[in-house]
């Protein structure tokens, strides 16, 4: 177990270095965009005079590396600065929206992960049957369609034609949990459809891969029923690749939801990031991107730890 703690510590350290590199890349990527924040804020109403005045107010007349170091000095002490456009604290601007994004991702994950693993096991059991084919075709169709298209289809049938669910998921402050789950069901379902195929196919492939192994043949020969062969004998060995693909999809649920947010008018972090890039609001862009990067780093770490814990051979290396 000591090895595991060491591994986690090492990976977290490397993660910090990655975040640092990401922050440099983001800063200069924003710098490279044509136009600047003063022009973006003032829009067509910008005159040279007002643009210069605003640039001075925002400190944009200083060289870029100095501004980056300024930001970095604040960031290491936990101060991510204020939005250049609205003057709001970055933590305040992001906080509630990040919670919303996490809520939607959790909602979708709670539905998607059990369903896709269960489906994966079932289709592995019934491989090459009609059920296997239908499940494959349906999930592959949903992953191959763009999210906004899936969203519109769901809206058409579940909101416009049958009015079972609201078409827009705007949140109120006084909603009960049940209302909240009802209101956000369509965006969550869209996300479920998008991530299910990947996880289900991976579960199926990992299990089928093992079915040719001699120890499975042994289990079969001793008369174990097929479902027991898969759940008891094959699945434990298949966890590592499954956990990896689940982690990747969970990260996607947090970082890849911009289109779903737009289609369903959900106040999450993706829309905030898009607006911030349009206005060149560097502190917000930076904070959002670092959150996304950290999500990937942490989930990858969790996947590795999960693989080690489920595999005694990795837990006790020779």
């Amino acid at each position: 177990m000591g090895d595991l703690v060491g591994l986690v510590a090492r990976r977290l350290g490397l993660g910090l270095v990655t975040l640092f590199v990401v922050s440099i890349l983001i800063f200069f990527a924003v710098e490279l965009l044509p136009g600047d924040i003063a022009e973006a804020v003032l829009g067509q109403g910008a005159t040279e005079e007002t643009v210069t005045a605003l640039r001075e107010q925002l400190g944009l007349d200083r060289p870029a590396p100095i501004r980056y170091l300024d930001w970095l000095a604040g960031a290491v002490t936990g101060d991510f600065g204020v939005s250049l456009v609205s003057g709001e604290r970055v933590s305040a601007a992001i906080g509630e929206r990040f919670v919303n994004t996490l809520f939607l991702a959790t909602y979708a994950a709670v539905i998607a992960v059990p369903i896709s693993i269960l489906l994966g096991v079932i289709v592995a059991l019934l491989r090459n049957s009609i059920f296997d084919r239908v499940a494959n075709v349906l999930t592959l169709t949903s992953i191959s369609s763009p999210e906004f298209f899936l969203g519109y289809i769901l809206i058409l049938y579940l909101a416009v034609r049958t009015s079972m669910f609201p078409a827009i998921a705007s949140l109120g402050s006084d909603m009960t949990l049940v209302e909240l789950l009802h209101r956000t069901f369509l965006p969550a379902l869209t996300l479920v459809l998008v991530v299910t195929a990947h996880m289900m196919r991976m579960t199926r492939a990992a299990i089928i891969n093992l079915l040719a192994s001699p120890y499975i043949e042994m289990a079969r020969l001793k008369g174990t029923p097929p479902w027991k062969v898969i759940v008891k004998h094959a699945l434990p060995n298949a966890w590592a690749p499954i956990i990896n693909v689940v982690a990747l999809n969970l990260a996607y649920l947090i970082t890849g939801v911009v289109l779903v947010e737009v289609v369903f008018v959900y106040p999450g972090i993706g829309q905030l990031l898009v607006d911030a890039v349009a206005k060149r609001d560097f502190p917000i862009v930076q904070a959002c991107c670092l959150i996304f990067a950290a999500t990937f780093i942490l989930l990858n770490l969790a996947a590795d730890v999960g693989s080690i814990l489920t595999n005694p051979r990795l837990r006790h290396p020779k």
Partner: protein, 534 residues
Amino acid sequence: MTKKDTLIIDRIANAARTGRITRRDFMHYAIATGMTASAATGLWTTSAKAQPKSGGTFRVGMHDSNTADTHNPGTYLSIQQIFLAHTHRAYLTLIETDQSLGGDVASEWSGSDDASEWTFKLRDNATFHDGRKVVANDVIASMNFHRGEESTSAAKALLTDVVDITAPDDSTVVFALSGPNADLPWLMTDYHLTIQPANDDGTIDWESGIGCGPYRITEGEFGVGFKLERHDGWHGEGAYFDALELIAINDPNARQTALVTGDVDAVTAIDLKTLALLQRDPNIMVDNVPSASAITMPMHCDTAPFDNVDVRMALKLAMNRDEIVEKIAFGAGLPGNDFHHSPAQPYYPEGLDQLSYDPDKAKSLLQKAGAEGLTVDLSSAESIFSGAVDMCVLYAEHAKAAGITINVVREPNDGYYSDVWLKKPFCCVAWGARPTPDVMYSLAYKSDAAWNESRWINDRFNELLGQGKAELDDTKRAEIYREMAEIARDDGGTIIPFFRNFVFGRRANVEHSGELAASWEMDGCRAASRWWFA
């Protein structure tokens, strides 16, 4: 009147009551059945025009809602901000539903004989949401916010000729100008010039969002939505809804779906491509209002080949505007005549000859200019408006018949207005509506204007512009603007393919007077205080 006529009149009265036809159409149809104009007017007021009713929560889905927006009136830019500004704040003056100028916080105003000093009288019943009375100091502080060296307001250019603003007493504000400006009361309707409470040091409190408009913000976040409730004791007429919900819905499809499913009661900016389908839904009313918002194509008049007036005229004649309105604006537009003055603005010169598509004449003009086989680059970008690049490609096809080759250059959306506009000699631009022709001409056609986008200098035009500014007699002003329109059409460097309509939708149970202010979408952005639930 025959029985059939009565039936028809019943039907059109019904259509008018539910807002399906406007007052103008109503009069048209009623007179067609043989009614006299005065009888038709009487019928309109007694039976057709529904009486406003109070109550309900009005939910509006709005486009152009950015998370980075703020309450700072100097940075107002998005529809979300402008709609909110007309809802929780107030102005000195406003544009009425019949496009005339009315009072908002000001009850009356008058200019000195040379129009260089204007006096506004404030209403004595105007209050801020925290109960304070609106006094002259608040108005002065609110205006000064946009003036002076330090100001970064986008409205700074609008108020450059204001020299001093004083308050002889608490309910009077006097604007002293450096020169005559007969349009000052109209300028006060500009969306930046809201009235905020003044702080003791002469600055304004814009951060709190306290205004003196019909509704008070109870909660909200830019880019997500706002909730407002009626400000009891508001100084104006209307504000029929008890409460409002403004919901940010930037995706056109999501907005229309929300309207169809009834998740909202009204939406801004309907996607023109699906307009015809939406109109078939009996639960939805679409308002299609001609506006003063124009699409322009400025040519730099100091740069070859555009320095030759014949070349400019040839390029104007090489455009088939009707086809552009039909295919690009899906009919929701009005062909331009290359003077930047829309029928939705005051003093519009009726009956001027319309420039029409004439490739043969364009060809002969090019011959005269010695520029046969002309080749020009036209810069455009999809962010100008949906269809901007398509419009330019269509124009290039029209121009081929006149032997002109137009290379459409697709520029990046980002930074178009800082890198292309005013810099490339021939490009495509979208202009927001301005209240009067003087404002528009002074902004983008005056020889020394910073935004003289076509670098056009015409002495007679500039002389007339000065005269028009100082003229308080409406008939004489209209004459001046007529001559200016002719000069701009025949000599100017700007092609105006079309004026855009505002197209927005509401559920059938939302009603309005049948006349809509054309200054902004949604009844001059005042739908919240002017419309009601049936």
